[in-house]
Structure formats: structure tokens, C-alpha cells
């Protein structure tokens, strides 16, 4: 059974690397949105620095959401999902592999890019570890929750906006904890409390979201 998990990871990696533009799009989006703020708000370093936790997190959140719209669409259209449903393997395990692969190649890249953009906004270097840890814990939650929405909207022709409306409210706790951790560290306070809460959200999402995703896909396929 874990063998299927690995094989699906390999299959997803192959598919993503044969369509590199889809990997790059969320990253470029993330970088461009962050680059717009100094232009819009003004390059005053103190102001940007105070805003940076919120800016980084909102931009990361939107970039993840953008990348998730098409998560299941091609598998839905070419019949792959039907094959997953009729296979003897639990659909929740297969979709977990799919989301993990997606996170490894887009979420993780986003996390690795974030220190560069944080420094661009004037976030002090001592806050970068907190930024990295909070994004490392938070982006999997964003991917998993977003995948629930993607599963429910996969059958719709233009599900993108509906996906955002469905999922953005669910992102609020992650956003509050992520920016909270970063604000605390910006003020020289310990951020461990927020990060531990975030870790518990991650554990919760990894265990429960796959079942919700699988149920959503079965509804979309059964229509």
C-alpha cells in the first residue's frame, strides 16, 4: 500500500516536471505581489517592516490558492480519478500522496523563496527562522484545505472564484497564527506558542483533510 503512495509521488513529480510553467507560476506570483507593495505603500523602511508579516502571509496564501485551482482538474477530465476510485486502495491515501507531491514542489519552493522576499521588505534577519518555520508548518495546511475545495469544485467549468470563496475563510486561523508568530518575533518576543498551535493545525489537517478530499472527489465524480 505504501508502495502505491511512492509510485504516485513519482508519477506526480514526472507530470510536474514535464510542465514546469505550472511550477513556476505560483512562485512568480508570490514574488510579484511582494514586489508591488514597496511601490504602492512607499519605500519607507519602517512602515514596510511593520507590514511585512501580513504581506508575506497574505501573498503566500494567495499563491497557494492560485496553484490549487487545477490540482485535480486534469485527473478528473482524463478519467484518472475514476481509476483511483475503482482501485482497491483507499482514495484518501492516494489524494494525500497527490497533495504531498504538490506541496513538495510548489509549497516548499515558496517557503524557500520567502527569506529573500522578507529581506526585500526589510524584515530583520533574526525573524527569518520564525518565518521559515511558520511557513513550513502553515503551507501544508493551506494545501490540504485548498485541496478539499479543489475536490468539490473540480467538476465546475470555472471553479476558481468559488474555490477562493469557499476556502479563504478556512485559511483565517492559519493566517492569524502565522502573522502572530512573525509579529511576536519582530517585537523580540518568543513565537513558540503560535508555532506550536500551528503545528497542531498541521497534524490535524494531515490526518483529517485526506478523508474530506476523498469524499469531495467522490461527490464530484458521482454526479
Amino acid at each position: 500500500m505504501s508502495n502505491v503512495f511512492t509510485l504516485l509521488l513519482v508519477r506526480e513529480a514526472r507530470l510536474l516536471f514535464r510542465r514546469p510553467a505550472e511550477l513556476a507560476n505560483p512562485l512568480v506570483f508570490f514574488a510579484v505581489v511582494i514586489a508591488l507593495f514597496p511601490l504602492a505603500v512607499g519605500p519607507e523602511s519602517q512602515q514596510l517592516r511593520n507590514l511585512s508579516p501580513g504581506l508575506l502571509w497574505v501573498a503566500a496564501l494567495l499563491a497557494v490558492l492560485l496553484s490549487l485551482d487545477g490540482l485535480f482538474r486534469s485527473d478528473f477530465e482524463d478519467g484518472s480519478l475514476e481509476q483511483w476510485v475503482v482501485s482497491p486502495h483507499p482514495l484518501s491515501l492516494l489524494v494525500l500522496a497527490k497533495v504531498v507531491a504538490h506541496w513538495l514542489f510548489s509549497g516548499l519552493a515558496l517557503v524557500l523563496l520567502s527569506p529573500l522576499l522578507a529581506l526585500m521588505l526589510g524584515l530583520p534577519a533574526h525573524c527569518v527562522p520564525v518565518l521559515l518555520v511558520s511557513l513550513l508548518l502553515g503551507t501544508p495546511v493551506l494545501s490540504l484545505l485548498g485541496a478539499v475545495g479543489a475536490a468539490l469544485t473540480v467538476g465546475l467549468k470555472r471553479g476558481g472564484l468559488l474555490l477562493a470563496l469557499l476556502i479563504l475563510p478556512l485559511y483565517i486561523p492559519v493566517l492569524i497564527l502565522g502573522t502572530g508568530a512573525l509579529q511576536a518575533s519582530l517585537q523580540g518576543l518568543p513565537a513558540a506558542g503560535q508555532l506550536l498551535w500551528m503545528a497542531s493545525l498541521t497534524a490535524l489537517a494531515v490526518t483529517l483533510a485526506p478523508f474530506a478530499i476523498a469524499a469531495g472527489l467522490k461527490i464530484s465524480i458521482g454526479e
Binding site: 508502495n3 502505491v4 509510485l7 504516485l8 508519477r11 514526472r14 507530470l15 514535464r18 510542465r19 486534469s74 477530465e77 482524463d78 478519467g79 484518472s80 475514476e82 481509476q83 483511483w84 476510485v85 475503482v86 482501485s87 482497491p88 486502495h89 465524480i221 458521482g222
Partner: protein
């Protein structure tokens, strides 16, 4: 209500061709049989037990090839088959090559499927029928896009499977030339009229 009063029993060695005009519910019936959809009323039994209670049993015995057959355009024929087989019963590379040769795709193993023609892509999907398949085959429009020779080969392969004790349920508009002993036809259009 798509259809009602439908009572049907299928045994090993039979082939059921579901016919009927467009929109008469052929695909829906097949999707109900393989558990992708749930009936609003009525029930489907597998060996006397409700289908919903034995999804694993069904999954082990059934091979479903839908109108969209789950072939990824970005993957090669070999990669596609390796993954589709791994979902049920992993197959070796030699077996996959032999199956591709059996459907006339020798030399196309390493070609991304989006560069193949529609008929060739259909053949990639149908190569699964040569890879140690389970006994029950549910096929939605398997003859689409195949050439004359491909149709004849597939008909013979399906008939052989039935005569060896397998069970085939398929939809097609085309009248089959090569019929196994256990052949039956269900016309959903006539039932409605």
C-alpha cells in the same frame, strides 16, 4: 428517472452489450455497476450481497475503462500502463511491453501519449486487457477511434475472455461481428418505448 424496472443478472462467461440511443443512460448504467455512482433507488448485488458493502471485493475483481480512460498525455505509454497496473496488480516492464505489442503499439513505448493519435491512445488503454486482468470487465465505448483491424482484434479478445469464464459488460453502437456463446443485448431505448 433514467430507467426503471430494470432487472438483470449476469454470470461468468457472459457478455452484455448495452445499446440504446444517446442519452438513454448506457454510461450511467455502467457507472452504477462499477460503483462510481449510487442508484437513487433499487440495488445492485455482487454475489448476492449489496455492492456498497463490498467495495474492496468489487475493486479486486473489476477492470473499468471509461470513455476517458485515465491516460495521461504527458506520460509515455509505458509509464501510463505501469501506474494503472500498480493501482490493481503491479506488472513487470516485460509484460507491459508485451501488452503494448499485442495492441499493435510496438515501438511506441517511450512516446508521450499526447503525441499519439486518438486511436493509438485508445489502444494504450486497452492494453490493460492484456495485463493479467481481473475477471469482470466494464468497458464504456471501447471501440471508439479504433480502426477496422483494431475493432476485430478487440472483439476477438473480448470473446476469448468470456469463453475463458470472464464477464464483459460494454456499451457500443457498433454491431459485434464476433459473438461469444454467452452474448446478450440490453436495449435501453426499446425498454423506454
Amino acid at each position: 428517472m433514467l430507467f426503471e424496472g430494470l432487472d438483470l443478472q449476469l454470470c461468468a462467461g457472459e457478455m452484455l452489450q448495452v445499446a440504446g440511443p444517446n442519452g438513454s443512460g448506457k454510461t450511467s448504467l455502467l457507472r452504477l455497476l462499477c460503483g462510481l455512482m449510487q442508484p437513487t433507488s433499487g440495488e445492485i448485488l455482487l454475489q448476492g450481497v449489496a455492492l456498497t458493502r463490498q467495495r474492496d471485493e468489487l475493486a479486486r475483481r473489476m477492470l473499468w475503462i471509461g470513455h476517458a480512460a485515465g491516460i495521461k498525455g504527458l506520460l509515455t505509454a509505458e509509464e501510463n500502463l505501469a501506474w494503472l497496473c500498480a493501482l490493481h496488480r503491479p506488472a513487470s516492464l516485460e509484460d507491459i511491453r508485451a501488452a503494448l505489442a499485442a495492441v499493435g503499439l510496438r515501438g511506441f513505448e517511450d512516446v508521450p501519449c499526447h503525441t499519439l493519435s486518438a486511436g493509438q491512445q485508445r489502444r494504450v488503454a486497452l492494453a490493460r486487457l492484456h495485463l493479467d486482468p481481473p475477471p469482470l470487465w466494464i468497458l464504456d465505448e471501447p471501440f471508439t477511434a479504433l480502426d477496422k483491424q483494431g475493432v476485430a482484434e478487440l472483439e476477438r479478445h473480448l470473446a476469448d475472455h468470456c469463453e475463458a469464464g470472464g464477464l464483459v459488460v460494454l456499451t457500443t453502437h457498433h454491431s459485434l461481428a464476433h459473438l461469444p456463446a454467452g452474448y446478450r443485448e440490453l436495449d435501453l431505448g426499446q425498454r423506454r418505448a
